[in-house]
């Protein structure tokens, strides 16, 4: 098997982390909203925002699981990572 030269495990962890962060954020919205004088959100707003945060949090975790299966079960993501044409490549090591 070709040596794995990308860091997709890290990217997959990022996506799972976005999901966890979103779920975490949903849990503190009410606490942060308490005591605000300007820009205080209504109960309906907080409730709706929390629901969508939680929904997308689980979606991101689900996507991370699918990408994990793709990478490590189906082995379809294993290849050399390409450059991103980002314009800052000279600053980086190329392995």
């Amino acid at each position: 098997m070709a040596k794995k030269k990308n860091h997709n495990w890290c990217g997959i962890s990022f996506i799972a982390a976005y999901g966890l962060f979103t779920i975490y954020a949903s849990s503190i919205l009410s606490y942060l909203n308490n005591g605000k004088e300007i820009g205080k959100l209504s109960g309906t707003a907080i409730s709706g925002i929390k629901q969508s945060f939680i929904l997308f949090g689980f979606i991101f975790i689900g996507i991370a699981i699918v990408l994990f299966l793709r990478e490590y079960i189906f082995k379809s993501g294993i290849k050399e990572a390409g450059d991103t044409e980002s314009g800052v490549a000279p600053h980086y090591f190329k392995k």
Partner: protein
């Protein structure tokens, strides 16, 4: 169903599309500017001009036809002022030092560029610095209202260019959109045509780039910047419609205010930044004390959009085989990006937004904010380029 749930969910999808457009289209204002200054290459700029042109024209049509009433559209209008000039200069220098604007930061950080994560941490620190030091100590809100009369906030509809030029005429937004959007689109098309002609002459064959191919859709090759620009415009339109038809308030794209939300979320277990009372008081707002966080809601639709944009960009970076944890050869780049990030964060707060929220959305709102933001933004990026040439 809860209208806020619908709004945020649709905007979440828009955020994922935005992330795809950024990562696949390499949409970065700094990259576009540096490519012009250093290589005379306009490819990325063309995509940005497409984004601006198409979205401004679409917003003008939507508002002229009354699909989104003017009174709703102007609710989110950013007022223009001296702070756009000052903030954009600082912001432009900061992103120039970091080599990535707000859109560039997202797709690079989401693709594993460590120096852009450092830039993000710098922005988070800069936002806190502004919120607790600059904002209260300078009595910031007072000065944006009471200095330079011709560059101060005008209330309500007065800052809306169609109203300023054409009064209440229904066709006003469309004409203004035709002027600004038409200019951007024609310039974009002209630059594309000129670039194709130049490459054709160099290669001795008729050169053209497809806007979209199967390989782009399968993530096997990057998007043409023009496709990225088109998706940018689509996202702006989705956000406007989603917000208006759910909670009856027009929302415009923005990136840096959400970073303030991230500050509060990250620090929530230790301190509630929204309630912290500092030693300095902003006299303009006597009821509350002293910090910028107190005047922003705990979550705005763009907070959610930015999280989803990061996710969209990371997903396509993985699918495109381009995710890689990239560490700069010169470790000094971490310090440079953190310092640049602080300048970026402070500049964005002074200008009430960034290259997305004030520049692009400024044009979408038909406010002068975008026009004022642009020249000093470019000047700041140019100075940063020269500064780096001197230092490195």
């Amino acid at each position: 169903m809860n209208p806020y749930f619908i709004e945020y969910s649709i905007i979440g999808i828009a955020g994922l599309i935005f992330g795809v457009a950024l990562e696949r289209g390499r949409m970065c204002f700094v990259l576009a500017t540096n490519n012009i200054f250093t290589a005379g290459d306009t490819k990325i700029l063309e995509g940005i001009l497409w984004a601006f042109g198409i979205s401004v024209l679409a917003f003008g049509i939507v508002e002229s036809l009354g699909i989104i009433p003017v009174h709703a559209a102007i609710q989110g209008v950013f007022p223009m002022g001296w702070y756009d000039l000052v903030g954009a200069l600082l912001f432009g220098f900061g992103i120039g030092i970091c080599g990535a604007c707000m859109s560039g930061l997202i797709f690079r950080a989401a693709s594993g560029f460590t120096q852009n994560w450092m830039q993000l941490f710098g922005i988070l620190a800069g936002t806190i610095f502004f919120a607790f030091i600059i904002f209260p100590m300078t009595n910031f809100l007072y000065w944006i209202l009471h200095t330079i009369p011709w560059l101060s906030i005008k209330p309500g509809i007065s800052d809306y260019i169609p109203h300023e030029w054409f009064g209440d005429a229904a066709w006003g937004p469309f004409v203004v959109a035709l002027i600004f959007g038409g200019f951007f689109l024609i310039l974009g098309l002209y630059l594309t045509k000129r670039r194709f002609k130049k490459i054709s002459n160099e290669r001795g064959e008729n050169y053209k780039e497809p806007i979209i191919t199967w390989n782009m859709l399968k993530f096997k090759e990057p998007y043409s910047p023009r496709l990225g620009g088109l998706l940018f415009a689509v996202v702006a339109i989705i956000v406007l419609f989603a917000s208006y038809y759910t909670v009856h308030k027009a929302a415009y794209l923005g990136v840096t205010t959400p970073y303030g939300s991230f500050d509060t979320y990250i620090l929530a277990p230790f301190i509630n930044l929204y309630n912290v009372v500092g030693p300095y008081k902003a006299s303009f707002l006597p009821k509350i004390s002293s910090n910028w966080f107190q005047i922003v809601p705990v979550a705005i639709p763009m907070t959610f959009l930015v999280i989803c944009t990061f996710a969209g960009a990371t997903i396509t970076a993985i699918l495109g085989g381009e995710f890689k944890w990239r560490v700069p050869r010169r470790k000094m780049m971490f310090v440079q990006n953190f310092a640049g990030g602080i300048l970026t964060g402070v500049g964005a707060r002074i200008a009430l937004g960034c290259n997305i929220g004030t520049l692009w959305s400024g044009f979408l709102m038909f406010s002068w904010a975008g026009v004022l933001f642009l020249p000093t933004l470019v000047l700041g990026m140019y100075l940063a380029l020269k500064f780096q040439e001197l230092v490195w």
